[in-house]
């Protein structure tokens, strides 16, 4: 595999790998490199068919290091379809040409892209006969881009502008977050817990008055209720606007084992490369992605986002909470020790009909 780095682009070639799980594994290792930060990532894939959940996971993994998945090079039509739906530039040049040739479009430098964008913006101006002369006014630019979208002529341009902004914004906040985040959050745990419990109150019915909330929450009722974690086949899943909104949360990237008693809370997505041991708690406003074994408590969408998900290479969470839903690991699944292998099938938990359901992310 090769990693070509120019100023702003970073190419990761995983063309030789033919399973989604391994791609995710390789990628998580590779993204550890400093060079991959604050870049537009071009991902070269081979014949692998990736589904939405998988590509979304890869995307959030990359977002986690303040980079953007800007383009995907794939021979699979399935992957291509999914990528396009997520607004990622797709090229399958390698299918036609030899792989040595770097495809022209996604590898442009930032300046080139900017130039191209500006040029094309002006074109649209003409087309729309917009009387406004001042191209440099941001607002106008933005609205024009919106229009572009409507016209469906240049869907990728907007993505690119966003990238530049996003990368800048994020690199600031990330500096401070980074490694100290864990300690910081553990110290803040008091407040965090408060938040969590507030959230939990919602489980028991937020529109009821306090006393009746407690009435409803008497453990017998709650604990005896459904055991939400099951493995069933993945139904077709529509990609909605809210999903895309979810992607715009900032992402915290943590590479360490989260141990018993540790609390990670973040008002955004959390990506953890490592295992989350029993007794830990992960709370995120957005998605939680664990590239390892998730055995503690995970609360995604702790701000109420029902679309939030929890993903893990191995889902063993003692409790899963998404927004206001709660589920616990079935008693029958009392595994003392899970062998660490490279052949896990990633799993994803999300809300289906007000219940948390765990899906295997199958190839």
């Amino acid at each position: 595999m090769e990693q070509l780095a120019n100023d702003n682009m970073y190419v990761i070639d995983l063309g030789h790998i033919d399973s989604a799980a391994e791609i995710i594994f390789e990628l998580s290792n590779m993204l550890d490199s400093e060079n991959a930060r604050n870049k537009k990532i071009c991902l070269k894939l081979g014949n692998v068919d990736l589904n939405q959940a998988q590509l979304l996971s890869i995307k959030s993994l990359i977002n986690g290091i303040n980079s953007i998945l800007s383009s995907v090079d794939t021979k699979s039509t399935e992957t291509e379809k999914v990528a396009l739906a997520l607004g990622i530039i797709v090229s399958n040049v390698s299918a036609e040409n030899s792989t040595e040739n770097i495809p022209a479009m996604p590898y442009k430098s930032a300046e080139e892209l900017k130039e191209q964008m500006e040029a094309e913006n002006t074109e649209i101006h003409d087309v729309m006969q917009n009387s406004q002369e001042n191209n440099h006014d941001e607002n106008i630019n933005n609205s024009d881009i919106e229009n572009n979208r409507d016209l469906n002529s240049l869907p990728n341009i907007q993505e690119n502008t966003d990238i530049n902004e996003a990368v800048q914004n994020k690199s600031e906040s990330f500096q401070t977050a980074d490694n100290t985040a864990v300690e910081e959050l553990t110290h803040n745990e008091n407040e965090q817990k408060n938040e969590l419990k507030d959230e939990l109150d919602i489980i028991f019915g937020s529109n009821a008055d306090k006393s009746s909330i407690f009435q409803m929450a008497i453990p017998e009722e709650m604990y005896e209720s459904k055991e939400g974690i099951t493995d069933i086949a993945v139904p077709e899943y529509e990609y909605t606007k809210e999903d895309i909104e979810l992607e715009s949360f900032p992402t915290k990237y943590i590479k360490q084992t989260i141990r018993s008693g540790q609390v990670i809370s973040y008002e955004g997505n959390i990506v953890i490369i490592g295992d989350c041991h029993p007794g830990c708690e992960i709370n995120a406003f957005g998605d939680i992605t664990v590239w390892g074994i998730l055995s503690g408590i995970a609360h995604a969408g702790s701000g109420g986002n029902q679309k939030a998900r929890v993903r893990a290479l191995k889902m063993n969470a003692i409790q899963l909470r998404i927004a206001n839903c709660y589920s616990r690991r079935p008693d029958s699944l009392n595994t003392v020790y899970i062998e660490k292998t490279n052949s896990f099938t990633p799993e994803e938990a999300r809300i289906v009909n007000n219940e948390i359901v765990v899906f295997k992310i199958n190839d």
Partner: protein, 273 residues
């Protein structure tokens, strides 16, 4: 009706406080009493694991103290025994989250509604210990027949005698191995009693079944065949005021007896798998 608050303590770590709490609690509940187990080992909780209730915990002792939930909400009902419930410790906090006064308030409330409140104490003699004993009027001091554990038990008994609320305390001698005692490699139960000049409420043999039962999240008293399980059932009866003779926990002496025991052990294991 006022329930009894009993603290299970030891001084030395790892001698079997949590195992004892889970088993006595389950045994008392099996005999029809209402029981609350309170885990005060904040940050190092284990009691939920031994009972197989970890996946049910939403609120903890700390949440009750910090008034994020009502006491009733934090009581997790046992899977099998409706008479038994657990007030779990928070795993993500430390001992300073609850003080003696706060715990006493909770146990005082609980004893109005439940027959027994068993408090699983953390190891050590620091704040965690002082907190755990605050609401209790009785104590069970767990020790093993080892010099170091006995020394620490002695220290604890001294502290219990000085404590205001504790009216009585009894010894529970755990992990006893009769064969080692016979070969003079282990202190006898009487030795321990004499050194500590304190009466005993139970003698529990060393039993590998305890490890399996811990891993499975099911107290050993549910297994009537186990010697340790029966010993714990007897402790519960003694707590209830019954006069129960101490079990003969002797291991078979001769080779044939040993072999028989070994084989039956194997069989049991085979069945369990």
């Amino acid at each position: 009706m006022a329930g009894r608050v009993i603290v299970i303590t030891s001084g030395k770590g790892g001698v079997g406080k949590t195992t004892t709490s889970a088993n006595i609690g389950t045994a008392l509940a099996k005999s029809g009493h209402s029981v609350v187990l309170v885990d005060t080992d904040i940050g190092l909780r284990n009691l939920d694991l031994l009972l197989g209730l970890e996946n049910r915990i939403v609120y903890t002792l700390v949440d009750v103290v910090e008034e994020r939930c009502k006491l009733k909400q934090a009581l997790v009902k046992d899977k099998k025994n409706p008479n038994l419930c657990l007030l779990a410790a928070a795993q993500t906090r430390d001992k300073s989250s609850v003080n003696a006064e706060q715990l006493k308030k909770i146990t005082d409330k609980l004893k109005k509604e439940y027959d027994f409140i068993l408090v699983d104490c953390p190891a050590g003699i620091e704040q965690g210990f002082q907190t755990a004993i605050a609401g209790a009027s009785e104590a069970i001091v767990v020790t093993t027949p080892e010099m170091s554990a006995v020394r620490d038990a002695d220290r604890i008994i001294g502290l219990l005698e000085a404590a205001e609320g504790i009216e009585s305390y009894k010894l529970l001698i755990n992990r006893v191995r009769p064969n080692m005692i016979k070969s003079n490699d282990m202190m006898s139960v009487e030795d321990v009693e004499n050194i500590l000049s304190c009466g005993k409420i139970g003698v529990i043999p060393e039993d590998t079944g305890i490890i399996t039962s811990t891993n499975r999240g099911e107290p050993i008293v549910n297994n009537e065949k186990s010697l340790a399980g029966r010993a714990y059932l007897n402790v519960a009866r003694r707590i209830n005021g019954e006069d129960v003779p101490f079990l003969d926990i002797d291991e078979p002496k001769d080779i044939v007896g040993k072999l028989k025991k070994f084989l039956s052990g194997l069989k049991k294991q085979g069945k369990e798998q």
